[in-house]
Symmetry: C2
């Protein structure tokens, strides 16, 4: 044991946020704050001080923020992240002899005790602080010392010694030789805002042709950009756009053999024309793709590409780099299987191959290639079937030069695997939202995602449907089911997406009873969608997306909170901004077949309202406005009219002319 161990009396523990003891970074987007708390204390009765230290990983100097006591030995401070990349933070705590001494002096003076020796001690502490001070402060302290020494009476000196200004000055020159430094340096991964908030639209470009049955092209896709942009989407996500294999190609409805006209699945990547860096010839050229990116940008849309790291038997890798695949004892290459299912059209890559280094580099090269074309968002197919260390290496490497890149993990697997992928670097993750349909399920799941430490590293992206997922709820519930699931996705999740036009056209026919696959799935054939069909939800979706963009409360998941209703078919929750300037309340009837009514119980004090103060709830979907007061209010929802309210809570403002309006 060294003397420093003896002197270092402050303990720092229970630090939050902290992911797996600091092994992984917490996530934020630019402009967000990182509120750090810790248990900080010492033996005995000495006063302590502590500070939160933070810096961008590229800076060398720490910025120090004093921490404030919350009670029960819990301390808190916050910092705001303003640049992409990594921030680091840690905590320091130290015994504060001057604070201790001032506190005790006041108590003694109040009790009328003699403080002559105490004043001597105080002067000594100030002298020591002076010796540690920077030049400016040194002069200031010297001034205070002259003032104290020239005061004739002890009481007068004691009073000066308690001056809060002197206190602040001394606090600027702490003795940190025995400070405890928290033994971990923690990291924050800072992404751009789109990692936190965005509406995604998934579209098969090959179905974009105006002519039924014809293979769509990127040029035809351009014509659909206004349609997607007018609905208010931010991200247009395209399934893989690469050449599709011929060997063992699947036919319509996933039949084992394809006819000559069958286009195959876009996820069956690789053919004579090329692999992951090539464009499927029928879609167009690389130039056409770049033009599409540009045109999308003009409509305020960003294009997300699919990263599906797997190959067909026809992929150029198979011939050029057979060592990247697993070989069976009979010499054949191991196709994908999940016994008894076999996917003979797909060869998984062998990440444990002896030649893993060149494979890793090649796959990073794929990402770099599309970044060079202008792509900044990737939706990653089945990341859970590739090793975690691979993703950690890849994402870290990409972000080193392109911190603005966003990776969405499509891992419909067990929760701990999903969470681990988020920890190793994925910016966002698909969730179990599609299968959370009852009020209890939704409350439990989203409370876990938004109010437990999971929220520090896992950013949910909510999809009511995907080309793989047509839930029973959507199959059975008709148009109201699509409406309510859209409202839930768009308001429970700051990030959400739909697979369209199947969604807005309420496509709900399953391949067979009990299946979650679409009938005539677009995965295996070209579809032609009647996007102007009168029953399309496109106007409803536009309205919901406009509400999202106009209400910052809906642009983050941090302040999601569920509220009590007395009807289990009615779900109620709110989101608000940090400063309560924007509060949105959602009430949804989860039964797509029947009208339901209920009483809500709202924590209006937490909304900054008083029990007796009326407030307005403004339904941003219907435009209707209601005057409510108190926490108990009545709501009825007919799914055939509107299965949900999205209510903005407006506070009443009384002007000097005694004229009320609602802010």
């Amino acid at each position: 044991m060294e003397q420093t161990d003896v002197l270092r009396r402050v303990v720092i523990e229970g630090v939050a946020p902290e992911v797996d003891g600091g092994r992984f970074a917490v996530k934020r987007t630019i402009g967000e704050s990182v509120q750090v708390q810790a248990d900080i204390f010492s033996d005995g009765h000495d006063a302590i001080s502590c500070a939160l230290l933070h810096r961008h990983a590229k800076d060398t100097r720490w910025t120090e923020t004093p921490m404030a006591a919350l009670g029960n030995d819990r301390w808190q401070a916050a910092f705001r992240v303003t640049a992409l990349g990594r921030y680091l933070y840690t905590i320091q705590g130290w015994i504060d002899p001057f604070k201790t001494w001032q506190r005790d002096l006041s108590k003694k003076m109040e009790a009328g005790q003699s403080v002559d020796v105490d004043v001597m001690t105080g002067l000594d502490l100030i002298e020591k602080a002076r010796s540690r001070a920077v030049k400016e402060d040194e002069a200031l302290i010297a001034g205070w010392m002259r003032r104290i020494e020239s005061a004739p009476l002890l009481e007068e000196r004691a009073l000066i010694l308690q001056d809060p200004e002197l206190e602040d000055l001394i606090a600027r020159c702490p003795d940190k030789t025995t400070a405890t430094v928290y033994d971990r340096t923690l990291a924050v991964q800072v992404d751009r805002a789109r990692a936190r908030f965005g509406a995604w639209y998934e579209l098969f470009p090959r179905s974009c042709s105006r002519e039924q049955g014809k293979h769509g092209t990127f040029r035809e896709c351009e014509a659909l950009l206004p349609y997607v942009a007018e609905m208010g989407f931010d991200v247009l996500y395209l399934p893989p756009i690469h050449p599709i294999g011929v060997t063992h190609r699947k036919g319509k409805n996933n039949t084992p053999t394809a006819g000559p006209e069958d286009p195959g699945s876009p996820w069956a990547i690789g053919a004579a024309e090329g692999g992951h860096k090539a464009i499927h010839p029928e879609l167009g050229t690389l130039g056409d793709f770049r033009r599409l990116l540009e045109k999308a940008g003009e409509h305020g849309l960003e294009i997300a590409l699919d990263l599906a790291f797997q190959c067909t038997p026809d992929h150029p890798y198979v011939k050029a780099n057979p060592q990247w695949f697993r070989h069976r004892p009979d010499g054949t290459i191991q196709y994908a299987e999940n016994p008894p299912k076999r996917y003979q059209d797909i060869y998984p890559l062998h990440f444990e191959s002896e030649d893993w280094k060149s494979l890793y580099e090649e796959l990073k090269g794929v990402v770099d290639f599309w970044i060079a074309q202008g792509v900044r968002i990737f939706r990653v197919d089945n990341p859970h079937t590739k090793p975690f260390p691979f993703w950690e290496w890849l994402i870290e490497g990409v972000k080193r030069t392109h911190p603005e890149v966003i990776f969405l993990s499509e891992a419909f697997t067990r929760p701990k695997v999903q969470y681990r992928l988020a920890k190793v670097g994925f910016s966002q993750s698909y969730t179990y939202f599609a299968w959370r349909n009852t009020a209890w399920e939704i409350r439990e799941y989203f409370t876990e995602l938004s109010r437990t430490p999971v929220r520090e590293f896992f950013r949910p992206n909510l999809w009511p449907n995907t080309p793989d997922i047509l839930t029973e709820y959507l199959q059975m519930g008709g148009r109201p089911a699509f409406m309510v699931r859209l409202v839930l996705a768009a308001t429970l999740g700051a990030s959400y997406g739909i697979y369209g036009p199947a969604f807005e056209l309420c496509e709900n026919r399953p391949k067979e009873t009990g299946s979650e696959e679409y009938l005539d799935s677009e995965k295996y054939e070209i579809r032609h969608w009647e996007i102007d069909a009168p029953l399309s939800l496109k106007d409803f979706i536009s309205r919901v997306n406009r509400i999202r963009s106009e209400n910052p409360a809906l642009q983050s998941d941090r302040h999601l909170r569920f509220h009590e209703t007395d009807n289990d078919q009615v779900l109620c929750y709110s989101k608000h901004t940090e400063d309560l300037s924007n509060i949105v309340l959602v009430v949804a009837n989860l039964d797509p077949h029947h009208t339901h009514a209920c009483w809500l119980r709202l924590p209006i004090n937490d909304f900054g309202l008083h029990e007796r103060q009326p407030y307005q709830v403004h339904d941003l979907l219907s435009g209707a406005r209601y005057l409510w007061h108190g926490g108990r209010n009545y709501v009825a929802l007919d799914p055939q009219v509107a299965p949900a309210h999205i209510l903005r809570i407006r506070r009443r403002i009384r002007t000097e002319h005694d004229f009320d309006y609602f802010l």
Copy 2:
């Protein structure tokens, strides 16, 4: 990145128990088990295996226990600790190709698929296992291989390959070259059973004289041993037995000046006659003390000493080692203070002194000295006013040679400080029990202590009173209050204690209204107790302690669980042994003034009973037996008769002669 990082695909996280990321040991007593759980998983679909490794710190070989899957990627295994000192444990996890292959083979065979290549793969895996096997297993595997190769039909081979015996054999020779080893080695501090379970009795030896007003001696103390032993106590704890200072000695009822007859506080340690290694002359000699230890042992009582590391101005240290004290600017030694309170009779030791090393050694020398006399239990006075690193160093040092020593922390301070002291090594801790009187308070507090990670390092010792604490509840509630608090202490806590004879004589007069100090406190004067007073609780206490010693359920806090009642004045909880062979249910009326009745709701399935099966509840306090069935049962408690039931739940056994009895 190295190839090993690529191959090490198994993740181990969320390990429990684990205190502060492994910084501190978890606590167990001999014979207890350590049940370890962790989240263990990999990417992809490969089967994994994992093992818990443990060893005594003095051994070099790990013992390996296979872990079992609990679902949701959680795995579990346990080991039993059988020797004092430290055990270490960690976890290994690895991809299991043979398990994966067997699982897939079965599925393929069920689906009627051809498995010819799979059988080749299996043989290859077995051959590899053989090369890793120990000699015995190698021969066995070779035998299996011959059997397989001589089977003429593929189906036959496949069947042999799925034999569970072969599975076990191969599982014994895993390929761990790419195993993940959890990155922390965790520790278990193993104490003797007394650290977990014991009834303590605190007694001032100076009040043991048969003659009123005379200073008691160790010899007279011996005469009281049968009294304490017959009540069923295990530990006799004596306040400090050292010479008491004269300077600034406190008088009766803590008055600032002592009269010539006032004996002073035993915690004011040090006088001309000696310090922490000396015996107060009026108590007797060191020989007398050793004799007392021996006699106590004959009565099954162990003696605990008080470690109060502080000095009076008369302590020999003050002259011999003035550098161990803090000096004020006027040259005087700093006395203890908690402004505006001053304790001029006490000089705290200066643990941050330049000469800290010799101070540390001297204080350890004090402990070593009493250990040499035969003491093995220490109650430590105000440990929270000395640095945590000091305690960690001291306790570790003592336990290195004497792992059987028990330290009880008397830190009535903030929860995080209490918990830290437990983490740095204290075997047991005083708690807030004395001030937890309502059902809600008790449920909340003891749920925290027994059902959260706190239970891994913090062992509560429950005291309804101490010489410093006479709670309002005891002051106001009369004899029933003492009875119910005794039952609560003795059944909520496997370790508990009372300060007697004040307790059993229901001494309840406070120094003044609103004070928790005893009137005429034994801390400042010699008291004479009428231990044979007819209203003494000694028989009641004997009975409670007998119940504790006969019911192993009450000898641990691991399985404490509260049950619902429909009357907030009635508290109900149970404790049981791991195997449910002993289940004790406590029902207590917390209102010492009125009879209360209520319905209980018991989780009888968790007790191993069925809804329709009658069971007996046997009141171990009154001897009464009731036949109950189902979870809902009625109880009424008159505090003047008995404020609590301690019910043993007895299962009905039907013999072959159709004669029922209750086990």
